[in-house]
């Protein structure tokens, strides 16, 4: 079955809804799309440590329970750190959502297929790890409904978004230290609010 959504469209649909949420993005394509479409100080780009994006986002969610954290991971990266799903299920932060751009390939390295191209389902693995709110989104309508849930329900949620393969446009700004400092300052300056709604 071919996928009709692009990662850029899916990123844009998320960006339209952002106010005081933190967005943590995976190295490579996810960060490049986010920088190009909606660069903002509350974006936490990751540039290395393939696989760790969902864990970085979990640490932010635990340290700031008053802020909703949306992680934009990739299928190849999450497959490297599947244990993270078990930790997310165990800790179960209400302010945590993991969105996976599942294009079924290792895009940055030339499009080699990942395990999701064959038989593996990331939403299925997430459910097996103990995350009850684990969804698939294959169309724009399904994605909009999934975002509705992310922005209104308690987490943790996992949304596996089937997107078309393809490289993002432009060049990644790799000021690694500068982006980390900008994010930390912006989050520190964000006034505390009531913990994410129940």
């Amino acid at each position: 079955m071919s996928n009709s959504l692009t990662r850029a469209t899916a990123t844009r649909l998320l960006a339209e809804r952002l106010t005081r949420e933190v967005v943590v993005s995976n190295l490579g394509q996810a960060s490049l799309d986010l920088q190009q479409i909606a660069d903002r100080p509350l974006n936490c780009y990751t540039f290395g440590a393939m696989g760790q994006c969902s864990s970085v986002a979990l640490g932010i969610a635990l340290a700031r329970p008053d802020v909703r954290v949306v992680c934009l991971d990739g299928d190849g990266s999450l497959l490297m750190n599947l244990g993270s799903l078990c930790t997310i299920a165990t800790v179960a932060p209400r302010n945590y959502a993991l969105v996976v751009w599942d294009n079924e390939v290792h895009q940055t390295t030339g499009g080699q297929p990942t395990a999701t191209a064959a038989r593996s389902s990331l939403a299925g693995i997430a459910r097996g790890a103990g995350i009850e709110k684990a969804l698939d989104a294959r169309t724009e309508e399904e994605l909009r409904r999934a975002y509705d849930r992310i922005f209104t329900e308690d987490g943790p949620l996992v949304v596996s978004v089937k997107v078309m393969p393809g490289r993002a446009e432009g060049r990644l700004d790799r000021d690694v230290v500068g982006h980390a400092r900008r994010f930390a300052r912006a989050l520190a300056a964000l006034p505390a609010s009531e913990p994410a709604r129940s």
Binding site: G48, A49, L58, A63, N81, V177, F183, L187, A188
Partner: protein, 171 residues
Amino acid sequence: MSNPSWSKHLADVLRRNAIRMFATVPDYIVSHVLEHLWADPECRAVTVTREEEGVGLLAGAWLAGRRGALLMQNSGLGNSVNALASLCVASQIPLVLVISHRGDLGEFNPAQVPMGQATGPILDALGIRHIRPGSVADVETQGDGLIKLGYTRSLPVAIVLPPELTGGKQG
């Protein structure tokens, strides 16, 4: 002779430096420190499935304003190398590693020895400053100083726990 209060002193040095967030893959030795942290309602200790997950989690916590320490065996240092290098060192994110040192003096398990001998060189190769406190007094003075240095440099540091401090693990 190991002083059994070493683990309480180490937990206190960490807490005195405002560290309240912890991640761990437990081993026999660091579990003695974890007991003090788990008993403290102000501390949060998350058991992760693999040590590099703890590196990611605590890097995120620091970016969100909380200091963290990762408690693990030196085998877990091997599991964490790329995350420490390409996340913490590259982005200048501080983190305190508390590493029980298996595979060194007195070791009974041959499988522990290669990582045991590689522990110091791996930390050196990553530019991670480390200490090996041999006594409770060393834990208090060197440990405290090392943690302060880590936050001043904004880089990871490591407290490696030798058997002469902890009593090691007997086969």
